[in-house]
Symmetry: C2
Subunit: 293 residues, 2 copies
Amino acid sequence: MLQIITTINEIKQSIQNIKDNRLTIGFVPTMGALHEGHLNLIRQARKENDRVIVSIFVNPLQFGKNEDFKQYPRTFDKDCELLSMEGVDILFSPSATEMYPEGFCVSVIIEHLEDKLCGRLRQGHFRGVSIIVTKLFNIIKPDNAYFGQKDFQQTVIIKRLVADLNLDVNIKVHETIRDKDGLALSSRNLCLNKTERQEATCLYRSLTKAKSLVSAGTTNPEEIIHEMEKIINDCKTAKIDYISIVNPETLELVTNVNRGDVAVLAVKVGNIRLIDNMILMLLLTVQLLFLYF
Amino acid sequence: MLQIITTINEIKQSIQNIKDNRLTIGFVPTMGALHEGHLNLIRQARKENDRVIVSIFVNPLQFGKNEDFKQYPRTFDKDCELLSMEGVDILFSPSATEMYPEGFCVSVIIEHLEDKLCGRLRQGHFRGVSIIVTKLFNIIKPDNAYFGQKDFQQTVIIKRLVADLNLDVNIKVHETIRDKDGLALSSRNLCLNKTERQEATCLYRSLTKAKSLVSAGTTNPEEIIHEMEKIINDCKTAKIDYISIVNPETLELVTNVNRGDVAVLAVKVGNIRLIDNMILMLLLTVQLLFLYF
């Protein structure tokens, strides 16, 4: 039976009960408009923990002034149905004033990581993410917290946050869930019109191109990015925000692609900004050759 | 028996044991060079908790480039003796690399509060305080944490931090402990020469002057500060950093002194920067008059 809680005091009591019974907590923070990507995280959490808590909070602090806070899809009733079906124990859906009461003035900064990639164009976005995640972790006290790899930079920042603030939570990153044509699932996909939806596959196609180039031995990031750009630029509704190949921990641009480096990109399709990424692996046979010789 | 722990992993195990036994933890964070002010906090913690944990960590992040990090007094062996005598259970004294390993890059900012008073002159100081307190709270998970009122701005910032980050700890602020002549106890007093030590009472004398002016009905902060300045300026070794009268929560300068407002000051005596503060109360009789009429 899904319990819906909207206040911090009330959820703290529930958490205390769970902890008193020495049960483990799996936590999936979301902004709602749940899709199969979220549900996969929830199923993972359901498998690995005694209790599963999901939060729905469209966090105003992680939207910029000219961003889509108001337009961000909200499908609360349908979300609740889905959470019930997945056997979630508690939905925490606080109001903005519950999370940021008058006088609130703390900010959490991840220097070096927050101003790169998406952070360069979305000023303050990752501070908003960092503060809400810190608050939610402190309130929910989860043993495990689940994030999708689609938000790659976010996962890197949250791992850093947990390490640097000595938070007691395991961060579990789940692979990106995609539609049949490869488009990464995202709540924002709901806002695409038909043409845009078709062309939106260019993100995935450019990433698989990158992966195959690396598999075939290309290690020059400029060469790879150039091929990716060609695929995006072929789409009339698509406009590149950035394409980069980065180290998976520091998010620094690489000058030579190594195993585990990540191709990341943000593309505006119509008015909707989409992101995606892919870990670049050498072909298994190539790796084996390196191992053997 | 005082247990000395230097690694985060080891203390986390001890904390887990304490929590498993459902015992309460009182925590007193310090930078060592313990004096009667610290010992008072520890005695308070001893009374109110099952276990008492003290940390000694001279936090490099809260010292500016030209400040006294290297000169800050370190009296570890004597500190351990004192902690044993007070019945402290655990001393946590990590190294700087234990707290800030390579790659560390999180910062915690308390906007509006950190750039005032001491923060205006000690750039980055309160970020350093905020990050170490957040880390220590997350590691030690205390029920109660004890701070001296002498570091007034610090107590305001830490209360804000705990509220805004939803940390589960009660912040207990203990009155300032003073020498017989009124000088607030501070580890830095050890660095004063004889003349400076004598003249250092000017902080206390100026604060009591402020208090008596307010008791007598003065509500104009400029008038009060002017009288305080005269007392400090009479001392040859003393140089005013700032004198302010502020709201105790927002730290905003007040234009008219109300009950509970705080006079705060920082004065360099020789090369040693000392701080002190006093809550300004109206005379009890005056308050009673207000209550009755």
